[in-house]
Symmetry: C3
Subunit: 138 residues, 3 copies
């Protein structure tokens, strides 16, 4: 059985990290699936999905890490092509990746207690993000 739904988010393009665990759990409940997995996927080349302990310290540390590894104000050929100044956004998104898959056992998402599913807005302009949540199982 396949059940697909969406999470709609408006972002400002300011390195937001958004905890979507509650919405994913709610879609799982609606699906009626008790054993299987959930795929969370962001269409688009400047956003990403991963997990983190969603607390204010790390919500600050993670964007700082991204800025250190892939600085916004560096030289990227992408920016010379499009002049939208978001070369760093694309590279961060490709590094982290657009999706994650989480097991479902006995109707529950198998996550650690301090592990939340997050959407990362890497772009430098506002977006309407429509994240796909797809439950597969029985």
């Amino acid at each position: 059985m396949i059940f697909s739904d969406f999470i709609n988010i408006r972002t400002e393009g300011k390195n937001e990290i958004i905890d979507i665990t509650g919405e994913v759990r709610s879609i799982l409940k609606n699906s009626g699936v008790s054993a299987g997995n959930i795929l969370v996927f962001v269409p688009g080349a400047t956003g990403a999905i991963t997990t983190i302990e969603f607390e204010p310290g790390l919500v600050n540390d993670f964007p700082e890490l991204m800025e250190r590894l892939i600085p916004e104000n560096s030289t990227y050929l992408h920016n010379e092509t499009w002049h939208d100044g978001n070369g760093h956004s694309h590279l961060r998104a490709s590094l982290i990746g657009p999706s994650i898959t989480i097991p479902v056992i006995e109707t529950e998402l198998v996550l650690g207690t301090w592990q939340q599913i997050i959407f990362l807005e890497f772009d430098n302009k506002p977006h309407h993000r429509r994240i796909v949540v797809q439950v597969s199982g029985e």
Copy 2:
């Protein structure tokens, strides 16, 4: 229903980034699956799969990023073991990861307009790559 097929690619080992979106779409069509997901996986420890906006700027920026984070000419114990000089290739592959899963809804891959699926050749020698594309669904 499970439908498996392969994409065969010859690489030269020169940091190629290859857009495989068309081949993946074609395999999806052959599968007849209308709802489910597609797993794209590269067997081997020196290649990787992710998504990117496939345009000439980023196709240059991404290998440059890899070279900055994990330089080819640095000291890796792997090279002292095997003397094939590809320690950096292995580390890049483990960092990015060998696979991606993409949702399928109403017979279509759910990708962003500017988001392509890419194979990354990180090794420093030619390869015949046989990428697995597996469609699961109904």
Copy 3:
């Protein structure tokens, strides 16, 4: 068909890299699935899963890479919140990611010859890790 099992590991919190390929293969065999995929997922925010050529050189090089990209002794707001000194562990785990999915074709895991599935312990204290291995297919 969905078949779920677990791999139980005790770690010391000393940057262990543990090859779990044998256990994953054994669970696949028990499942009886001949075509489909295997999801390997670590619950918890300070561990990760990826693939690597599991040989002593890289088993040393990969933690060194992590230390270079995300040093243990740097300033993280997470540490000021919790004072457990594992901000770097969380960031490394979010960067690499908690899961991997591997295709199964004709009863076999489709891995490269030199490609093993590894669990990465990034935390700085001992853990009892319970890794989820879920086989989906027919």
